[in-house]
Structure formats: structure tokens, C-alpha cells
Symmetry: C2
Subunit: 112 residues, 2 copies
């Protein structure tokens, strides 16, 4: 099946997961996966959170930023792939002057 | 953690899953996810296969092609996102004159 993000309403979330300013998300959800097209605005972040039953894979489409992953910063640019395995925590940060645009998947791993 | 596909060796697979010609894959694997950077060459395909315990999410980075999903064709271009939920089958086809470049995740959903 095709997921047409252009037909999924954008949600502008303020201070997502305790982060800063605005995260824009278009999200498809079923019981196994969250599949997202995201745009983190300049000087915005998704707050630090732990993936308990799932993981997250983020592919950067454009812009620059960084993740705080298990206490260390990792720099991101177009083509970067960040992986937060199950049980780990991360925060996505746009400390640049332009949008950070990404594609992300949050798969559930403990479905019986 | 960062997955640097530039540091992962490319594997050129002939007739991948019974498909046609050449699929190029750089893959990170752990027990929960396969995370891939792929390039399907012109006139190549990944053969029809079913995702029994996992799903697959494919994001098209450049090029054109199509998937055969549950018996129907879906057209792909840059920015397209194809989702094959667990229990379904698909085939990825490059019927164009240039490479089909994609990012893909195969998450496992039945880990105890």
C-alpha cells in the first residue's frame, strides 16, 4: 500500500515530548508501525524519551541538526540515518537556521 | 546511534528473492530491524515475497518504479512511501531507464 503523506493532515505539535517549539508530523499508524513524515522547525526539538516496546529509525531528507542519544550528540545532515534501538533514549534537535525534514519509522517489537 | 551506509559494504545481489537482474543493498541488521540503503538497477526487480513475522517500509529517494502489492501495481517516484504490512506480499520493480534508490526498514514484530 502507498502512504501518501500529502493526503495526511499535518499536526503542528508544541513542545513535543517536552522539547522546544514546533514539530510538524504527518503520521500513518497501525498496530505494528508508526510511519512519519516530519519537519522540525529551526530552534525546535523533540524532547528526550525512551523507546520501551519499540525502536525508532530516522532518515534525514534535508536540513541539519543533531540527536542526543544515550547522553552523546550525533550530528545529522541530509542522508544521515539515526537508529534508536528498543530500550534506548534520544532527543532530536534542530539547532540550525532552517527546517530539519525527516522520514521516520517507529516499529513495535513486542506484539503477541 | 548513526548508521553510516557509506561505511557498510554494498552487496550486489543477482535475482534477489527470485527477481530480475541486480539489487544493490547496504544493510544494518540487529534482532529487531533490518535497515537498508538500496539501489535497484534499471530493468531489475526484487521478486514477490511475503512478510510473515515482519513488515517493510520503503521510502523512495530517487528514480521511478513500481511495486506489485497484493496483486495490484502501485507507481513509485521520489518521495513515495510504500508499506507492506505483516502478512502481506510485494515485489519491487524498476521498469525505468535509471536507478531506483530507496531507504527501507524491515522491523520484526513478534519478538518475545
Amino acid at each position: 500500500m502507498l502512504i501518501d503523506f500529502g493526503k495526511i493532515e499535518n499536526t503542528a505539535i508544541k513542545e513535543f515530548k517536552g522539547g522546544k517549539n514546533i514539530t510538524n508530523i504527518r503520521m500513518f499508524v497501525d498496530s505494528n508501525n508508526k510511519i512519519m513524515s516530519g519537519k522540525l522547525e529551526s530552534d525546535s526539538s523533540i524532547g528526550l524519551h525512551t523507546h520501551q516496546t519499540n525502536s525508532e529509525i530516522i532518515y534525514i531528507l534535508s536540513g541539519k541538526g543533531r540527536v542526543l542519544f544515550d547522553g552523546e550528540y550525533e550530528e545529522l545532515t541530509a542522508g544521515s540515518c539515526h537508529y534508536c534501538p528498543m530500550g534506548h533514549s534520544h532527543s532530536l534537535i534542530n539547532n540550525s537556521d532552517s527546517d530539519l525534514v525527516f522520514f521516520a519509522v517507529v516499529p513495535e517489537h513486542n506484539i503477541k
